[in-house]
Symmetry: C2
Subunit: 210 residues, 2 copies
């Protein structure tokens, strides 16, 4: 009855070089807020992380940031003190917005993953780096071995995750993953015309899969 509808989002702490990546994050954040579904994320205020969480907060939605002690001390995911490129007004505005985040402080990177998964009904991956790849694959293995059964959905913006699909296919063809394993991760490809990825309603389609 009171099962959560929260969604965990894994993504980069850099903004990425394509406007379509940033647009997808913004679109997802707006859709989460509109659907009154809580965002559970790694707590960063920069990059794709900052865009998706900022979009939820700006639209009046709820955000839970799950962050290890050690990372909190240095200012969050991917954040480092830099003396010369800060814009005080922007920073202040960001901080005010971030005050609405509900923080969950954990003891380790592993505890963060467990806590994010526990608090969510499903998982969405946006473009990111090694950490994003690993988190998406880890929650997938948790489904595979029966720890949970929650959807894993990837925003395959500009085909970013195509190689991951090919890797899974190699695992299947190689005899290491059952054919049904291809269904453990749902790839949302968006329009075949990639020029439309900067305006596509990623949030709507992603949430339909969760």
């Amino acid at each position: 009855m009171t099962a959560t509808t929260a969604v965990a989002v894994y993504c980069g702490s850099s903004p990425g070089k394509q406007r379509a990546y940033q647009h997808a994050a913004d679109s997802l954040g707006k859709a989460l807020a509109a659907a009154k579904r809580q965002l559970v994320y790694g707590g960063g205020s920069k990059g794709i992380m900052g865009i998706v969480s900022g979009a939820v907060l700006d639209a009046g939605g709820d955000v839970i940031g799950v962050i290890p002690h050690a990372m909190l001390a240095v200012g969050g995911e991917g954040e480092r003190v830099s003396g010369d490129d800060s814009t005080p007004v922007l920073v202040k505005s960001k901080e005010e917005r971030m005050e609405r985040v509900e923080w969950v402080i954990v003891n380790s990177m592993h505890e963060r993953k467990v806590e994010m998964a526990r608090r969510s009904s499903g998982f969405i991956g946006l473009p990111g780096g090694f950490g994003t790849f690993e988190e998406v694959l880890e929650v997938t293995t948790w489904t595979q071995i029966g720890i949970h059964s929650k959807p894993v959905v990837l925003a395959n913006v500009l085909g970013f995750f195509d190689p991951l699909r090919a890797l899974i296919q190699n695992g299947i063809e190689g005899g290491f993953i059952r054919p049904a394993g291809i269904n453990l991760i749902k790839f949302v490809d968006g329009p075949s015309d990639h020029a439309l990825h900067e305006s596509f309603d990623w949030g709507k389609v992603l949430l339909e899969e969760i």
Copy 2:
């Protein structure tokens, strides 16, 4: 002075459909034993796991199997009781061989990964499924965030891991991974003529990178 030279190997618990995969595992096991480097692995006796550990043991080498309590109870990684396909003599022979494994019993899948990493000087990935992908990426993130600095090497047999290289490249081109990130995982491609992958000395080349 007494730093370990042990190597953690991540791989599938199925044998895979290509003889080259099995050959690479056997080659690596023999090379580890010859170099007197301990194998640290997930403890399975089947599939690629069984081949690499069996090759080490048959050559008189040392093997540490790290396995969670829960998995020990069902007979190990990827093993399930099946009443009709057992060959008693083979099973007995396998069991005798497995008696030389030094077992480390842990409390969770996560503790297994930590323990395998702690006991090893580097990591080698052979073909496998989701678990292998995730384990390779996790130890890579541990290097990236400074938890350790140990080489991660993949046996790219028949180009099995080519899509992972493409995924990392997407992360770099997309602005989420620094260009130097491509060096966090070393891909050992073997001969450009894939027909030679069934006889290539994978063990020698893999250990040269560790």
